[in-house]
Symmetry: C2
Subunit: 196 residues, 2 copies
């Protein structure tokens, strides 16, 4: 039952007992496909652990088109850090792409535990640094890699997304239009066909 919490809150300074304490502050919630967990303009008051399902974050660009900024898959934290921790309106919207099972924890509960459970703040520090590195890497990838390469990387790292998500959303995540991504796929097929 608490397997997911052990996975998420795994840290040398967090005992099983600590993790139980943390787990007790979470509440199971379910969202249907298409449901919105956090809407643009609202201040986030909780974050989630995604037990099962697929979620995306997106923003609206200068043409008011939806641009996917992040995909969340099993055993990941679903969170809008800037909104939650700075208590500001979110620029991003969080939306379930499939039916989802999550564990929710309120910001208030988080704050209390953050000071009460010694290892928790250490865990949080680690999480923040990992987030920073991951975001930096994605930013650099958007510059240093071609859309084709980014597509292949996504296929490799989160294949379930290719299965469940409309092409248009994937394309926006990669920084191209659906038309372009369709053509990229075509080229890849041709290339792999030649190789075989």
């Amino acid at each position: 039952m608490s397997a997911i919490f052990k996975k998420i809150y795994h840290h040398p300074l967090l005992s099983d007992q600590d993790i139980e304490t943390l787990a007790a502050a979470h509440e199971k919630v379910v969202f249907e496909k298409g449901a919105v967990l956090l809407r643009k303009g609202k201040v986030a008051n909780e974050y989630y652990i995604l037990e099962q399902g697929l979620i995306r974050a997106f923003v609206y660009d200068y043409n008011n088109s939806e641009i996917t900024t992040e995909y969340f898959t099993d055993d990941e934290l679903v969170i809008a850090p800037a909104s939650l921790f700075q208590r500001t309106p979110s620029q991003e919207t969080l939306q379930a792409l499939t039916d989802c099972t999550l564990w929710k924890i309120s910001f208030d509960a988080f704050q209390i535990l953050y000071h009460k459970v010694a290892g928790f703040s250490e865990w949080g520090r680690l999480w923040f640094t990992q987030q920073l590195f991951a975001l930096k890497q994605r930013s650099l990838d958007m510059i240093t890699e071609t859309a084709t390469h980014r597509y292949l990387k996504l296929v490799k790292e989160k294949p379930q997304i290719i299965q469940h998500v409309p092409l248009k959303q994937i394309a926006s995540y990669l920084g191209v239009t659906d038309t372009s991504l369709s053509r990229i796929r075509k080229e890849l097929l041709k290339a792999s066909g030649t190789a075989t």
Copy 2:
């Protein structure tokens, strides 16, 4: 003399005495315009406080063109966090755009102080969260704002860059070519001319 350290290490949990301790671990260094502080492929072993001058970070894109990813101005930390903290080869190169005066601290000295000076790790945690938010904001700006708007924002926030940096480098930071940026400027002039 230690004014810059007070500014950088300002934090409720860091006393003047603490800051003196931190300051003592820094060594003054000077770089000439054009000098490289950290080269792509090398592992960073220090970070710097920029007392005076202008520095940029850049990467090479899929065409081997230089793309500026960040500008550092007075009273900022000059650092490649991913390389320094993950002990991995840097993707970014750090280069002085003007003659610079900096205060250098080695990673080893940093680590020792991080554990010795209680408030320092708190300061570090705050710094990481701020970095994360700033990077996220820049990532979103690259999506939600037009190049024109990003240019105006840069002019507003770091006007000294416009003065000292070749157009081509600014353009790459904004995600366009120098030709495009020149046209953007032209449009802005026309627009402001009409308004007056």
